[in-house]
């Protein structure tokens, strides 16, 4: 395998803390927040993260496939979660300590509950509005109630972090600047 070449493209409005481990070809969109101690590894193919995502401490995002790993907008990756899925839509919540294998593609408005393991052997797609919960990773559909409120909370959260994080943490810039 060819050695991993580091290439970070970080949008000027993104907040990426200094204490973050990045490896490989990574693109981070505008307004996305990466907390300290998060890890993003593009081992095989590149990783492209959309706008206004929040990646909390200890979260690990890995791309083991050759293809581009695309993460949409307004996703929340909570503390210590691990994501390897090749595509992630918009407005998903991956809760604390959840793990998603590279065989799962995530749609939009999905929630993976705290400590859930999503590790099927065959490829599958998580439909929009799917909620995965409990120790056995059971599934349900979300009716979409309170969607506006949820989106509002996410937006305000990102807005708050964009203002507060630079006051206490050193930031990292892309190669371009």
């Amino acid at each position: 395998m060819a050695p991993i070449r580091d290439k970070f493209t970080i949008h000027s409005k993104a907040i990426v803390c200094q204490d973050v481990e990045l490896k490989g070809d990574i693109t981070i969109g505008s307004g996305t927040i990466v907390h300290p101690k998060a890890t993003i590894f593009a081992i095989a193919g590149p990783i492209v993260i959309g706008s206004s995502c929040i990646i909390e401490e200890g979260a690990i995002i890995v791309n083991r496939r050759k293809e581009v790993m695309r993460i949409g907008d307004d996703n929340l990756f909570e503390i210590g979660c691990r994501i390897e899925s090749p595509t992630v839509g918009d407005f998903n919540t991956i809760s604390t300590r959840a793990r998603v294998h590279h065989t799962v593609r995530i749609g939009s408005y999905c929630v993976v509950g705290a400590g859930c393991l999503l590790v099927p052997t065959e490829d599958e797609i998580l439909d929009d509005y799917t909620v995965v919960y409990g120790p056995a990773a059971e599934r349900r559909k979300w009716s979409g109630r309170g969607k506006v409120q949820e989106a509002d909370l996410r937006r305000k959260h990102a807005e708050y972090l964009r203002e507060m994080l630079p006051k206490f943490n050193r930031l990292r810039r892309g190669d371009g600047t």
């Binding site: 300290p36 503390i79 705290a114 409990g134 507060m164 006051k167």
Partner: protein, 188 residues
Amino acid sequence: MDPPIYYSKAEFIETDTGNKVSRRATIAGPQNIILGGKTIISSGAIIRGDLRRTGPGHAVVISLGRYCLVGEGCVMRPPYKTYRGNFNYYPMKIGDHVHIGANSVVEAATIGNHVEIGKNCVIGKFTIIKDCAKIADNTIVPPNTVIPALSLFAGSPGRFIEDLPESTQEMVEAQTKQFYTRFQPLER
């Protein structure tokens, strides 16, 4: 008494009040964190004092009491919510003699005195843990849970298992004090 637990002197910083903080712990916004004294923060722990409540003046984000232990790889961060349309993080208060096991994630609002939290636990946002409660290893406590005094919680989601004996307070107090005295620097 049990044998001492040694740590290398270079790794920990000891304060005047006897707090021992690992140099390998990530502490953001230390001006917003209060340690009560004789508290140990192990290596790899992440404490987020930077996520403070907006508004003027000094804000305490995380306060820990005396004889606490924050285990290796723990994450402590204050909980957040929107209240009357305003987004905010809210302070987190932890009492005395609280031990938190390794690799647990704590986003509680309040933790009382003499509380034991096991390893690999997830304590959801705005959880209130009352005095002398115990959380078993690998427990996932959902957000907004109230854990009553002298109760043992375990499982995913965390459920009430049994009542703890009334002697819990003395037991935990002795245990945490003993742990602090056992935690000794190794010269060289």
